[in-house]
Symmetry: C2
Subunit: 277 residues, 2 copies
């Protein structure tokens, strides 16, 4: 999917919401456990209930890998289901991979060629040759960790060099030499508030994937105020707040209501005159 | 496995070799492709041919995940086979994971509880709460990326703060607050030579997992000279140099010969008087 196609989907749906499919078999409604594949059954219901309200889905690989082979089957079925039934959805494999070149190349082939996923989250610690193997695929994206939403992000990401540049800013600056805003996005936690201004100084045109709204306490209003650019430039993820909005047989309707609630807040910001329409 | 048990295995086998099971179905001998599970058949033959010469095996998750469900089956069978037949082997899942707490906890459960793997490689970029969920398991290990062997390691790992501390040194220093040398090891690329002296200044007693000998051009002699401590403190990995030593039906014997060659070099260094025996 191109950057322009993603932006047009956002304008059409009045939404830049990404639903995080962090599906934990211990948290899904009991009646689904009778299904052959409870995790896929849960995802399918959530997807059908939210596809017209969001522009992206982000299955977190850990939740599937933790179930071993069964989990991989559920993951592949989920991706295939979205691709076949909702081709306008931007599918992000939240994998946070990052390894030496030949290994990263294996991951790239898996996610982009075999599963036709649109984007993969990648960790920058190992540098250029751990990231570039993901960049050789037309219409596919790397979403590089920059400034994450968790407490531990302060341990290293805010490290400052002699010139005052912080690690996350170096990640932004260096990675811009590897790919532009048509192939690369960045993860920036919603809990970062004003830091979005610093991010936009280095990466004014890139899309940012923003986790941490809701359960992790980030403010959508602040994210939009400091992070939005003229082609929106934001994909805001919510996982637990939407998929676990209810634990009864009404879980899918509840997820839809929760997603609509977020979209209604987004809709207003999308009226902003600075946006090019 | 405890640090002392690992050291005793090293002394008994006169080896601190880890065989990297980076098994690529496009590189294994043709006759194995007739097998129901060629990747497992290859791994089993390599393991049976090398288990008395090495102290650890390191399957790289990417090579298995790139095969989807089939790959996960081969990975789980491989781990199970080692555990059941060679219980003195230290099994490392080279996964380079690192995510927010609840996600890292999912990974920890998969690798340590469900698969009974001894150690997992973890990326430090997201900081303390992305690493600590892996530290709550008795006899299980985190192997944290510190200074890797690839070219891109220079992009961020060598970043220097105002006090002159480099990122990889900060990773060593900070992570020592999270766990000691009985629960934590570090990845240090064999291509680093003298940098091992800097590493040992910050982490004198820890075991280091050292990739990059062989195919990537690292020198075993230098690694031992600058990196060895009084309980060896090194696990040196070789992958391609051993498992792809030969591509005919003799691949397993060739792998054994290649492993023996590395061990013979290691044996000499293990006579060093500084080692406590």
């Amino acid at each position: 999917m191109t950057k322009e196609e993603l932006y047009q989907n956002i304008l059409r749906k009045r939404s830049f919401l990404c639903v995080g499919l962090d599906t934990d078999i211990r948290k899904i409604p009991e009646h689904l456990l009778r299904d052959d594949d409870p995790v896929f059954a849960f995802n399918k219901a959530i997807i059908d209930a939210t596809a017209d309200i969001c522009v992206a889905y982000k299955p977190n690989l850990a939740f599937y890998e933790s179930m071993g082979v069964k989990g991989w089957i559920a993951f592949e079925k989920t991706v295939k289901y979205i691709k076949e039934n909702y081709p306008d959805q931007f599918v992000i494999a939240d994998a946070k991979r990052g390894d030496i070149g030949n290994t990263s190349a294996m991951y790239a082939r898996t996610f982009f060629e075999e599963l036709d996923i649109d984007a993969v989250t990648v960790a920058p610690y190992m540098g250029e040759d751990s990231v570039t193997p993901f960049l050789g695929y037309e219409g596919k994206w790397v979403i590089l960790l920059a400034l994450t939403s968790n407490k531990g992000s302060q341990d290293f990401q805010l490290m400052e060099d002699k010139s005052g540049e912080r690690l996350f800013e170096r990640v932004l600056r260096k990675s811009r030499e590897w790919a532009d805003d048509n192939r690369m996005m960045y993860v920036v936690g919603a809990t970062r508030g004003r830091a979005f201004e610093d991010i936009r100084r280095v990466a004014p045109h890139h899309f940012l994937l923003v986790p941490g709204v809701g359960a992790q306490g980030g403010s959508l209003e602040e994210v939009c105020k400091y992070g939005m650019n003229k082609s929106c430039g934001l994909i805001v993820n919510s996982s637990r707040g939407i998929i676990y909005a209810d634990h009864t047989e009404r879980f899918a309707q509840a997820a839809r209501a929760a997603a609509q609630e977020v979209r209604s807040q987004m809709g207003e910001t999308l009226n902003h005159p600075s946006l090019t329409t």
